[in-house]
Structure formats: structure tokens, C-alpha cells
């Protein structure tokens, strides 16, 4: 069995880690690192019977993830201190939000940039306040800068000059030019307060954003991790609230994300064993391509299907902008190579 399938089965609880041979672990650890999920696996198998070297490596990973999470929440606090005095409130997104809400997918999850969502009319002021507080531009290219401002759902990325950490300031969750336009006002307006005191998306919107990020915007880079987020959050939300799947359906319809959310749910069932209610628990032939893309890694952590990877990359751009604009964009990018 391939390492990536073993890895997914370990996360899904379908395989006994004690039955793995040392060479199986080589591949599992390699794949987990390639997916930036080694600490996630370390948490999932925290109670398992493991070879001593694996147990020691996993303990390192859990400790390191705890530090990284603390640093990520500190970064969120820095943004709050820069924006709160001017009355700008923001909603935390993705990794930092999961950590702030102490969700189970946060255990060991890598958190890259700080992603925040503000109301569209606050975006200029947010930018100025962050610049004053020590963040600066990363991209110096005028085309990229203009492209972000005109067409994207976020400001060009900024980095803090002293702490060397990036912040992505969003005003919605999909590019302006995307075929789907989520209701950004509803996302911010219906946000909830997390245990750490930061605003985060409400449970249904959080799963919508997770699915949108993975399937409507992205090219499935990091798909296994996003899908793990989706699996654990829907499982926990549904356990706490029997009406959860119904609310999720309603919010997905509001944002125009029903296709992405339902596909995420099916993939999450197929890979990690999410229990879906009737109405969700269907089969869709095109899912096979998504599963193939998610499993496209060899035992050395390399992408095995470059054509499929390329196809998903093109798909993500195809969804992001109308054809004429896409052609112009790719032409400009190609000429600048």
C-alpha cells in the first residue's frame, strides 16, 4: 500500500499503527512532512503504541506545534492592537481561527500566515493602520500589486518588519472575479466570539470557507490538510448540534458554495470516514479526479501526477476569472518570466 494511503488511513483510524513496518514509517513520515501534517499525525496517534523513534519524533512535533500556535495567536493579538483602537474589528480565518477557538483540527496544525477578514469599507484604513504598526509590502511588482487590489479578495500580502510574519487581509473569501460571490457581509455580521476572545466565523460559515478555499479557489495544494480541517470541524460541530448539517446546507446556499461544500463532505467521507446524513451521502463520478489528485504523492513525498496537478492548477484559474481576463493575465505573467 502506498505511503499516502497509509497516512490517510492512520488519520482516519482505519489502520493500526502498531502493524506498520519501519520502512512503512519512512514513507508515512515523508508524506506527512510534504503535506505539512506531521504534527497533526503526531496528535492523532498520541495514545498509540509506536516504535520509540517515532514516538520521540512525534513528541518533538507536538511540542513545536504548541509553540507555533502560541506565536500565531500572538500575531493575531498584534493585529488586534493595531486595529482595535481605530474601531476596526476583524474575523480570524483558517489556522489562527481554529487555534483561537481551540478546535480539534488545531492540534498540531501548521499555521502559516495570519489571515483576517474585515468589512470591505474598512480595507483602506486597515492597510494604513497595519503599515503604521510595522507591516510592510512584500510584492514590489506593480502588476501584481494592481492585480491584487483590483481583482483579489485580499490585499497584497504584508510582512511585519520585526517579527517577519505575514498577514493576509481579506474583505471576502473568494476573488472578486470568481464565478461565485459569497455574502461577505453575512460572514462578518454573523461571526462568533471564540474562547480566546477573537471573532471567528460561525460553525457553518467556517466549513463553507474551508471548502471554498480548498475546492473553489485553490488547486488542491495542501488538500489533505484542508480536508482534515473539514472532517474534524463538521464532525465536532455536528456532535454538538444535531441541526448542524442543515444549517451548513443553508449557509452554503446563501454563499453559492453548495457544490464545493457537498464535494468537500463527500471527499472527507471517502478519505477520513466522516459520517454524512442522508441528502449528503451521495456518489458523484467526478469525485474520482479529486481523490486521485489528493492521493498523488509517492513514498518520497513527490507529486506523482504532474498532468493532473497542472489540470487542477488551470481549473483553479478558470474558476477565478472570466476567460478573456484569464488569457490577458496569463499572457502578462508569461511575458514577465
Amino acid at each position: 500500500m502506498s505511503a499516502v494511503r497509509t497516512f490517510v488511513d492512520l488519520l482516519g483510524g482505519r489502520r493500526d499503527p502498531a502493524a506498520l513496518a519501519p520502512r512503512d514509517w519512512d514513507g508515512v513520515i515523508g508524506v506527512a512532512r510534504s503535506e505539512a501534517m506531521l504534527a497533526t499525525l503526531a496528535h492523532r496517534l498520541a495514545e498509540a503504541d509506536l516504535p520509540p523513534a517515532v514516538a520521540a519524533l512525534f513528541a518533538d512535533q507536538r511540542a513545536a506545534a504548541k509553540v507555533a500556535q502560541r506565536q500565531a495567536l500572538w500575531e493575531a493579538e498584534m493585529a488586534r492592537r493595531a486595529l482595535a483602537p481605530a474601531g476596526i474589528e476583524f474575523v480570524l480565518l483558517k489556522g489562527a481561527a481554529y487555534a483561537a477557538a481551540d478546535m480539534s483540527c488545531a492540534a498540531g496544525r501548521q499555521i502559516g500566515d495570519l489571515d483576517i477578514l474585515v468589512l470591505a469599507h474598512d480595507i483602506r484604513r486597515t492597510e494604513n493602520l497595519l503599515l503604521k504598526a510595522g507591516w510592510e509590502w512584500v510584492k514590489s511588482d506593480p502588476y501584481d500589486d494592481a492585480y491584487y487590489r483590483q481583482h483579489m479578495h485580499e490585499l497584497p500580502p504584508m510582512i511585519h518588519k520585526a517579527r517577519d510574519r505575514m498577514i493576509d487581509v481579506h474583505h471576502t473569501i473568494l476573488p472578486r472575479t470568481h464565478r461565485i460571490t459569497p455574502d461577505a457581509l453575512a460572514l462578518v455580521g454573523d461571526a462568533v466570539t471564540s474562547s480566546a476572545g477573537f471573532a471567528v466565523l460561525n460553525p457553518a460559515d467556517m466549513a463553507c470557507h474551508c471548502a471554498a478555499h480548498m475546492l473553489a479557489d485553490g488547486d488542491l495544494q495542501g488538500g489533505l490538510r484542508n480536508l482534515w480541517d473539514f472532517h474534524t470541524m463538521t464532525r465536532d460541530f455536528a456532535a454538538a448540534d444535531p441541526g448542524y448539517w442543515g444549517q451548513l446546507d443553508g449557509r452554503a446556499a446563501l454563499h453559492g458554495l453548495q457544490g464545493a461544500v457537498h464535494r468537500a463532505a463527500r471527499l472527507s467521507r471517502d478519505l477520513y470516514g466522516t459520517a454524512l446524513p442522508s441528502g449528503w451521502d451521495r456518489q458523484e463520478p467526478s469525485d474520482v479526479w479529486f481523490r486521485r489528485r489528493l492521493f498523488a504523492r509517492d513514498d518520497w513525498g513527490r507529486v506523482t501526477e504532474p498532468l493532473l496537478e497542472q489540470a487542477f492548477y488551470i481549473r483553479s484559474h478558470w474558476l477565478r476569472m472570466p476567460p478573456a481576463m484569464l488569457a490577458k493575465h496569463l499572457w502578462t505573467k508569461w511575458r514577465k518570466r
Binding site: 515523508g30 519524533l57 518533538d60 512535533q61 511540542a63 513545536a64 513525498g301
Partner: protein, 288 residues
Amino acid sequence: MRHRLRIAVGPVQFRIGSDWAEPVAALARLYAGYPQDDARPAEATVRLFAARPWRRWLRPSVHIGGDFVVPDALPLPLSMGLLAAEMGMNLQVALGWRRHMLLHASAVAKNGRALIMSGESGSGKSTLAALLGEGDWRLMGDEFTLIDPAGGDAFAFPRAVSLKNEAIAEIAARVDPSRLGPLLAATPKGDIRHLIPRTDAVAAMHEPAHPALLLFPRFGGETAIEPMGEGEAFVRLTEASTNYVALGEAGFAALTRLVRETPAFGISYPDSAAGMALVEQLWAEAAK
């Protein structure tokens, strides 16, 4: 991958995969005397690969990959495949290891106590460590020294020593030729030749040593010793550590303790003999 090898250096178990036989054969010779434990899973993966299939044969160029990748790193010609492997191993440790605080520093030990030498490449820290390691010191490593955040002990990472330029002849004159790797001439880092550490240094690679002396060598110029304050040593070592920030509070505590408990000096020396004499002199005082 087509060609593969497992190597354990200090606490790190590597697996190395390559599209070519040559780098793996060269590594296998350098690391033949290192312990092999097939039951141990690999913690770090290094890949040496051709970016396009035909580049395996046509002007073969070795790209360095693995668990962690530097996006714009330039490939090396196949003749420098051994250097690519070394850089790949360093990269995985520098970016992936979390059990210890990593210092970009060489180290040698005597009687269970460690001398740690930190400096830029060209400072002579590798050469001094190699020379001391041929005397009555145990070579702990020429590239990384690992500090245990819990107990403050130094742990060894005795990879094959990367000798550069003038140091090659200096060491070659003292050791058995069978302990030297092939000459890699005119690499981006100058001429390079690897030295296989002594058998006893490899055998003792899991033994900790408590830090007793910190030196910041500078090759060239008059012989000089400059005592260094805790603050300066601290700042220099944060710059020399690849995972200080990632370790958070544990890294701060480990480094604070290291500079508080360990005397530190900057040293300048015109040649290796003078450098070694300085080291022995300062060690005699520090180890009292």
C-alpha cells in the same frame, strides 16, 4: 527513488534518495563506519533529483529536495553530487529538527565537557575542530552542535567534516588517505574534501558533553583573545541558530543558560598552530 541510502548522524536518521548512483556510492563510502539500524524509521528525507528526465544523462544537474526545499536553490553538476547530498542533509536538519536547539557551530569534547566554536564559514571553526579531533579531543561535529533544552548538554552531529581550500592539504598531511573523500574542485564553496571522523568519535556520537567553553574564532590577523559578554554571545548565537525562534520560550531558556554558564571569547589567529594554542590555553583556564 532509484538509488537510496540510510545514514544516522547523531540523533538524526536520514534516508537519501537519488536519481544517480554516484552520489549515493560516495556517501556510502564516507558513512560506511556509522551505525546502521534498519529497525529505525527515517526522520528526515533528502532527495537528489533531475528536474527533467533527460537531465539525468544530458548535462546532469543535481537538484536538492526533501522534506524541506529552498525554492530558488541552484542545482549542482553531477561531479559535485556529494556536496549536494551534504547540503541536502544540512537543510533538512536546519529546518526540520526540533528536539534540540541547533547551533551552526563546530564542537569537540574532552572528559565529558564540550568546547563549542561558532562563526561564519571561513572563520576556521571546521578546520580547528578537525585538527583538535585528530589530537586528544573527541570530534562532535563541524557544522551543527545540538543543545538539549532540558539539561543544557551538547549533543554531537559528527557528519563527515567538510574541509575547504587550504584546510584540505593541512589535514591530508596528518590523516590516513582512506579517511578522505574525493576532491570536489571549484565548487560554489571552493575546493571541498570530506574527512571521515575517527572511529571513536563516531562510536561516541550519542554521548552528551556539558558545554564548558564558547569560542568565536576569526581566521587571519594577529593572535588576540577578547572576552565576550553574555549579551553579545547571546545575540551571536541567536543568529547562529536555525531554530531559536521556532523553539520559543524553551530556546530562550536554553540559550540564556548556555551563555550564563559558559565563558565566551572571540579569538583571532594567523594560522592553525596559533589557533590550536589559543584553544588549549583558554581550555586550561575554563576547565579548571
